[in-house]
């Protein structure tokens, strides 16, 4: 078996949040015992609702947050053993909001060139040539290089962010909600561009999104996160055709497909909201789970896997 491009083992991260001047700081469990792997050339989709820890997981994989537990291996090497330049050549991010992720005071050309400058030892002419080539590759007129982000539309800005991520020819791109801030017609342009670039440049993506339809379109494998844990993982077709975890089922049932006449689904999830500062005992999904039994309230399920994938639920029958 070949080494997965990303392998994370039992990664956890907690934040301490001060809730008041004299209050005890609260412990927020963002990511808890997550193991994942991404094969070379694959697209791993991570889905889940706000606060499930998916963005924290992305930051851990990018090396922006040091996990409080577990280890991250990139191409077989420990992430914390790589220096920043090496890491930048392997893995790059594209974030959600192209309005806040680009420096408003710099020209597009300089923004895209930053990773090259940071590597050091690359001549100005070479930087210019590579930036122009990359701008053209993401569908931007190199003349736009002289502009500032404020002069560009949302879609153009996201193209700039993609150009910046790819200018070093990394192997992995972590896309954290890359199209959530965009209009549907622009979202489709960006998703198509990401798919094209992946094929041509042999990239692998970790693709984080709350939009299940988008994830189904781009991912080869999907992991579903709930309150910091992966509760189900399977190949995309399997997961969307036959979800097994009650949370995955509820998530899929909540998606409003553009098909009139079907009405609005009843998720049967109740009104309790997940709170990472207050993780319930037993299965952490049990307060919202329509299928919960007594055992779920006291006994935390362990991840179990079979040929259809992984699920963390007492009620899922393994093949």
């Amino acid at each position: 078996m070949t080494t997965p491009l990303i392998e994370i083992r039992d990664v956890g991260h907690q934040f301490r949040v001060k809730s008041g001047l004299f209050a005890q700081p609260k412990r927020i469990v963002a990511v808890d015992g997550v193991s994942l792997s991404l094969p070379a050339g694959g697209v791993l989709g991570v889905v889940g609702e706000s606060g499930c820890g998916k963005s924290t997981l992305a930051k851990i994989i990018l090396g922006l947050i040091e996990p409080s537990a577990g280890e991250v291996l990139i191409d077989g090497r420990r992430l914390d053993g790589l220096d920043r330049r090496e890491r930048a050549r392997l893995i790059q991010p594209v974030f959600q909001d192209p309005y806040s992720s680009l420096n408003p005071r710099r020209r597009v050309r300089d923004i895209v060139g930053v990773p090259l400058v940071a590597q050091g030892g690359i001549a100005d002419g070479e930087i210019r040539r590579r930036v122009d080539a990359m701008l053209a590759r993401v569908g931007l007129d190199p003349e736009l290089g002289e502009r500032q982000p404020a002069e560009l539309s949302g879609g153009q800005r996201q193209r700039v962010a993609i150009a910046r991520a790819l200018v070093l020819h990394p192997r992995i791109v972590v896309c954290d909600e890359p199209t959530s801030a965009l209009d549907v017609s622009v979202q489709a342009q960006i998703l198509n561009l990401l798919a094209e670039l992946r094929r041509e440049l042999g990239l692998s993506y970790l693709f984080i999104s709350h939009n299940l339809a988008v994830v189904e379109h781009v991912a080869s494998e999907v992991a579903v996160m709930y309150l910091g844990r992966i509760v189900e993982r399977a190949e995309t077709e399997t997961l969307f055709r036959a979800p097994r975890h009650p949370y995955t089922k509820a998530l899929l049932a909540s998606v409003l497909t553009p098909e009139p006449g079907l009405g609005i689904p009843d998720t049967e999830l109740g009104d309790t909201m997940p709170d990472p500062a207050n993780i319930p005992p037993g299965c952490r999904f049990h307060p919202r789970c329509p299928a919960a039994i007594d055992r779920c309230r006291s006994d935390a399920p362990m991840p179990r896997r079979d040929r259809r994938g992984l699920a963390e639920c007492h009620l899922v029958e393994m093949a």
Partner: protein, 323 residues
């Protein structure tokens, strides 16, 4: 079907920018009308202008702007403020920015009732508690004393809805009410709105960019592009027989779960929305339209496919509906 809100030839401009250019729509009693479009198409300013809440530099003009027979164009600010929050109510996308963080839920909810109905504090609080329970908030009595930051996003949006219902409005304008919420919560809020509509006979003008929300909630849909309503139809018609190339393009852009093919690119609309000025003539979609002809630069006549289905495009329907 009786019209509750009639808008004809609505024009809104901010300086030289024409945000809305002759939009018309009609919301019937007890019906959900979805106004759908992308950012900058003018859907939110349309809503704000109906409520008389445009920013000071915004100019509003219309042939007809009538609510339940009352000409809104003829009302002064005092008369309009007697309608607003009373017979016409509005909820917004981000409930946190629409709620005042310094006041409790209860004190914000009762204000509207004390003002419009001269209700006593006790009566208004009782009504607020009843409505919080009605929007399925648990322990409503306790919630009245809480501040907005103590509530989750879904709860805040329920509070906004309950607040909008305090004076039993006939029309609720909801501007992207579920866009900031998670999918499971979105489904719950939309179900709630639909239940309330059935029970209270509420008419809803729902503004959204999400075609999934449109398909599942609307009776009637108006598609906006660059300040115009380019197509208007009953929901089933719009999805099965889209006539305007923009409507069709929008529908192709949306990945449909269970029907997506990963190896195929999504349909997309090239280019971006133009910035419109008042002097613009012809079809605003022409630069992005694959079917455009030279005469698209001239005046475009509204075509009618059925009694309830019209669109602003002159290209023969067979060219639009052909695969």
């Amino acid at each position: 079907m009786t019209a509750l809100l009639e808008v004809e030839g609505l024009e809104i401009s901010f300086g030289s920018l024409a945000a809305v250019r002759g939009a018309s729509l009609q919301v019937n009693k007890g019906e959900t009308h979805c106004l759908v479009g992308e950012s900058g198409c003018g859907k939110s300013v349309t809503a704000l202008s109906i409520m008389g809440l445009l920013a000071r530099n915004g100019r509003r003009d219309a042939r007809v702007l009538r609510f339940d027979g009352t000409d809104l164009l003829a009302l002064n600010e005092r008369a309009m403020s007697r309608l607003r929050g009373n017979r016409l109510a509005m909820i917004f996308q981000e409930p946190m920015t629409s709620l005042n963080p310094a006041y409790t839920v209860g004190s914000q909810m009762i204000e509207v009732m004390q003002r419009h109905r001269g209700a006593t504090r006790a009566a208004a609080l009782a009504r607020a508690e009843e409505l919080l329970a009605r929007v399925r908030i648990t322990s409503p009595g306790m919630r009245l004393g809480q501040y907005p930051h103590q509530l989750s996003g879904g709860l805040r949006q329920r509070v906004m809805i309950a607040m909008a219902l305090m004076c039993s409005p006939e029309l609720l304008i909801a501007d992207e009410p579920t866009t900031a919420l998670d999918v499971t919560v979105q489904a719950q809020i939309l179900r709630l709105l639909s239940d309330l509509q059935k029970d209270l006979g509420l008419a809803i003008l729902l503004i959204t960019h999400d075609l999934g929300v449109v398909a599942r909630t609307a009776h009637r849909v108006s598609v906006m592009y660059a300040g115009e309503v380019v197509e208007s139809a009953p929901v089933a018609q719009l999805f099965t027989k889209p006539m305007h190339p923009y409507t069709r393009g929008l529908l192709d852009c949306v990945p449909v779960p269970g029907k997506v093919r990963r190896d195929q690119p999504l349909g997309s609309i090239p280019g971006m929305v133009p910035r419109m000025t008042q002097s613009f003539r012809g079809c605003a979609f022409v630069e992005r339209c694959t079917l455009a002809r030279p005469d698209c630069a001239g005046e475009i006549v509204r075509h009618r496919l059925a009694a309830q289905h019209d669109y602003l495009c002159q290209i023969p329907p067979d060219r639009v509906t052909a695969p």
